[in-house]
């Protein structure tokens, strides 16, 4: 059962609540680490000509502070809430893929430890949290520091992507009967939007990091101007991720605040649909504003104007939300408890960060403020004043549900006022420092600059923040030891989690609830008549059978360990990477057969899912959407560098159209064999299934043979990864595609073996259908590559 106790129980748990607690505790520890780094930074800057730390150490501290707070603290604190609360709020017994949920936690933990292990080797990353090229090139960062950073971020990206697919499927497909989209709690909505941002934004930084990896390890020149590369490519790929990342950090806080305010104002959220649509718009616009981080690089007037306009537009839905929150409070029967304090603090502080953000949207103003402390003030008002205040509101709001005990309201309010005072004392003076010309990332300054008074105030403020966090820790420990029992519904809550005991039982709900209202629990308590169901959304029937919960599994931690070893091997020895890869593959295969065979682990019956869709297929389509962004980033890199090689061989001299036409034909026809295989499995034609599955894999192998021949020929003719930009972009794009084909061939051969053992009947058709989707996807990617690279030269 998922409730197994002891350390083994925690290591093998797949219970979303336990995983949520693991995320929360781990992220809070990393938050303390990042906070200590910030305190040392502030100590160094408190006085002019200070020597608390060296310049090198200072670079490491601000790099690791930013990286830690964003990737290891604020993001996973949001994930802690997603994990613990989403199933409870939508009336589900767990997430769609419990073992994947555990995997995402262990990969996150290992990625965080890997990143921070750099301190032990005296090689902490030191090029800033956004690692601008070409500071990160081997020439300027010869040691392993940047390798720790890029490999750590790649590992953490795996964790975020896995969690993203999981929660998309969970929210789309596991809502309780009657919980239509417009009855979802706003926190669930913001979580859903955040997951889409994650799965669409992380592939671009993944590509950017891979290109950096190739530059550092294989001598390519993606970011090296000496061979025609352009450091701005990194900035584009980074900020294509980095700006949506801002919303990945802030939308969960917006969701939390949207839950807290109505509860403590004792009236429904004002303009629920507008708040939801504003969140969607923020997510959508979030992909169109990345270059406002790059106004000073000389993009040109048209680009600057377009990105400036888009940035100002994104302020509209944000402002709309703020008005809705204020209108929720207006006329409410306010209960001034700690969660409300933090929620109101969020509104005020985030508003200030938003206002300075609007200033940055104007290119002429931004050019004056770029790389000054004004920007440091802005981003902290958004990410501390916004995200952190929102997260604290959530901690104080849901702590009783998670622990069964109340936190002290008196200490909570002391925590709030100290944090509010400390936060403003720390970051408001940075506006003045920026306007006085103090650049960010300098490790000291001379006394004649006149920056000392504000820096001193800022440092004192930082220590006040530390005291406020200490008060929270005292409050938490006191609550866990002897806090007053919370009961199931201490706040007169509105949403389903408050119908459960605190903490909830392992299986969450004795009976899957049926939802008839947006504020379901309030409606039940006030005996409101049911709202009419939405016309086009299915309302599935409650489960007629008993409670099925997945058993604990240790394969998630095995696979995560394999992924960690792959990263460690890149720093130590390739053999370690190979060992890690083998361990991960072993873990995946054992995982697949853990319940007696692939697909045998109680997949949710379709009639019980919210959309009537298979979880695996829904998740896989979300994965393919993410893959679109991955290959788009690679194709965009190829197209951006097209014709910019400084030396040959050039495409028209080397590409072999007749040969590639044949391999293209083979791959296209493999897609035909794939659909024939699926049709055979669906109708129970075992011979046909074996034949067509093997045929598809065989055609894939032929395609790979053609690709290997082509690569060897090109190398003989002088085209290598290092020789020019064409070689680098060509080999990386087609190489990643080939790697995808290789994975597909292995997958198909695995299914073929199952078919040979007569373990692939019509009931297992979904396994083949999902593999088929993957196979067809690599086919259509090749269709694009064949046209864009080979035919349009």
């Amino acid at each position: 059962m998922t409730g197994t106790g002891g350390i083994r129980g925690w290591i093998t748990t797949v219970d979303h609540k336990r995983i949520g607690i693991l995320y929360g505790v781990t992220a809070f520890v990393f938050f303390l680490v990042g906070g200590i780094e910030a305190l040392v930074i502030r100590l160094q800057l408190a006085r002019p000509d200070s020597a608390v730390v060296s310049a090198e150490t200072f670079n490491q501290l601000f790099t690791m502070h930013g990286t830690t707070m964003i990737f290891l603290a604020v993001m996973p604190l949001g994930a802690a809430f997603f994990n613990y609360l989403i199933p409870l709020m939508i009336g589900a017994r767990d997430v769609a893929f419990p073992r994947l949920n555990a995997l995402s936690y262990w990969v996150f933990l290992f990625g965080g430890l890997f990143l921070n292990a750099s301190f032990l080797f005296g090689a902490a990353p030191d090029a800033g949290w956004f690692g601008y090229a070409n500071l990160t090139d081997r020439q300027f960062s010869p040691g392993p520091a940047i390798d720790f950073w890029l490999l750590g971020l790649l590992v953490l990206g795996v964790s975020s992507l896995i969690a993203g697919f999981n929660f998309i499927v969970t929210i789309l497909n596991m809502r309780a009967p009657g919980m239509t989209f417009m009855r979802l709690p706003v926190f669930v909505w913001m979580t859903l939007i955040t997951q889409f941002l994650i799965v669409l934004a992380f592939p671009t930084i993944t590509v950017g990091l891979f290109l950096l990896f190739f530059d550092r390890y294989l001598g390519t020149g993606f970011y090296n101007p000496l061979v025609g590369g352009n450091p701005l490519l990194w900035q584009h790929l980074f900020w294509l991720f980095g700006h949506p990342e801002v919303y990945i950090l802030i939308l969960p806080a917006m969701g939390i605040v949207s839950e807290v305010l109505p509860t403590f104002a004792r009236k429904p959220l004002f303009g629920y649909p507008v708040v939801v649509y504003s969140g969607i718009l923020i997510g959508f616009f979030g992909f169109g504003v990345w270059s406002h981080h790059m106004f000073t690089v000389g993009l040109g007037a048209v680009a600057d104007a377009a990105f400036s306009l888009a940035t100002m537009l994104i302020g509209i839905p944000t402002g709309v939300k703020i008005f809705n929150w204020l209108a929720t409070l207006w006329g409410g029967a306010i209960r001034a408890r700690t969660p409300l304090y933090f929620a109101v603090g969020f509104i005020a502080m985030f508003l200030m960060g938003g206002l300075s953000g609007i200033m940055h949207a104007s290119p002429p103003v931004d050019m004056q403020q770029q790389d000054s402390y004004f920007v440091v003030a802005h981003l902290h008002y958004v990410l501390v004043g916004g995200s952190l205040f929102g997260l604290f509101a959530g901690i104080y709001y849901w702590w009783p549900k998670m622990t069964g005990r109340l936190l002290s309201d008196r200490l909570g309010k002391l925590n709030f006022w100290l944090l509010l005072a400390g936060f403003n004392a720390t970051f408001f003076p940075m506006h003045f420092l920026g306007l006085l010309g103090m650049p960010r990332r300098i490790y000291t300054y001379s006394a004649d600059r006149g920056w000392e008074p504000w820096n001193l105030v800022s440092t004192l403020g930082a220590f006040l923040i530390a005291v406020s966090v200490l008060v929270f820790l005292v409050n938490a420990v006191r609550s866990l030891r002897a806090g007053a029992p919370a009961g199931p519904d201490p706040w007169d809550g509105r949403t389903l989690e408050w119908t459960l005991p605190s903490p909830p039982p392992v299986h969450n709900f004795e009976e899957v609830p049926t939802v008839a209202h947006r504020d379901e629990l309030w409606a039940r308590k006030r005996r409101r008549p049911a709202e009419p169901p939405a016309p086009r959304e299915p309302v599935p029937a409650p489960a007629p059978h008993g409670i099925h919960l997945p058993p604990p599994s240790h394969y998630p931690i095995v696979v995560a360990g394999g992924i960690l070893l792959v990263a460690v091997g890149a720093l130590a020895h390739v053999a370690v990477s190979v060992l890690g890869g083998l361990l991960a593959v072993y873990g995946i295969y054992r995982w697949a057969f853990e319940y007696g065979g692939p697909g045998r682990g109680h997949p949710a019956p379709l009639e019980e899912t919210s959309l009537g869709l298979d979880h695996r297929k829904t998740g896989f389509w979300a994965f393919l959407g993410s893959e679109c962004m991955f290959f788009a980033s690679l194709i965009a890199t190829y197209m951006a560098y097209k014709g910019k090689s400084l030396t040959g061989p050039y495409p028209h001299e080397i590409l072999n159209i007749p040969l590639t036409s044949i391999s293209t034909f083979v791959l296209l026809m493999s897609s035909l064999l794939m659909v024939l295989a699926l049709a055979a499995v669906q109708r129970g034609d075992r011979l046909g299934a074996k034949l067509w599955l093997f045929g598809t894999a065989f055609f894939g192998l032929i395609f790979l043979g053609f690709q290997a021949y082509e690569f060897i020929e090109f190398v003989h003719e002088g085209l290598t990864l290092q020789v020019n930009l064409f070689g680098a972009t060509f080999f990386v794009l087609t190489g990643f595609h080939g790697a995808h084909v290789t994975v597909g061939v292995i997958w198909l051969l695995s299914l073929w073996v199952l078919a040979l053992r007569e373990r692939l009947g019509p009931a297992d058709a979904m396994l083949v259908e999902v593999a088929g989707l993957y196979w067809h996807f690599v086919d259509i990617v090749w269709i694009a590559i064949f046209t864009l690279i080979y035919l349009i030269q």
Binding site: I168, L172, T204, L233, H236, L240, F287, S291, L299, A303, L606, L611, L613, D614, K617, W621, A622, G625, S626, C628, M629, F631, A632, S633, I635, A636, M639, A640, Y641, K642, G643, I657, S661, T664, F665, L668, M669, S671, L672, V675, A679, Q682, R683, P762, A763, D764, A765, M766, E769, G772, H776, F777, D779, I780, I783, A784, T787, L788, L791, I792
Partner: protein, 101 residues
């Protein structure tokens, strides 16, 4: 449990027809590449043909035409953003500037 896929997916003969069409379009693409008097129109012709192949595989082999609209949304939304990003990055790197080296 699986969906009653055989009821909503095309019959085998339709798959064979689609495969034949894909093969013909590929042949036309390669032929167009070698026809010198079409050089001026090469790019738009190839993009249209490539898009047609892409759509055929996605709609029929991946069953988007007959499957849930949710799947179409999960794929087409990101695809649209992906294409927009390629075009914007190409523009920002001067790929559409006439006469660039």
């Amino acid at each position: 449990m699986t969906e009653p896929a055989h009821e909503i997916h095309p019959p085998i003969r339709a798959y064979l027809v689609i495969a034949a069409v894909l093969a013909v379009i590929t042949a036309v693409e390669v032929a167009v590449f070698y026809i010198t008097w079409l050089a001026r129109f090469l790019v738009p012709i190839l993009l249209v043909l490539s898009a047609a192949k892409f759509a055929l595989v996605a709609m029929f082999f991946m069953h988007l035409r007959s499957d849930s609209r949710v799947f179409s949304g999960l794929f087409a939304g990101p695809l649209a953003i992906a294409i927009a990003i390629i075009l914007v990055l190409m523009a920002l790197f001067g790929a559409f500037v006439v006469g660039r080296p």
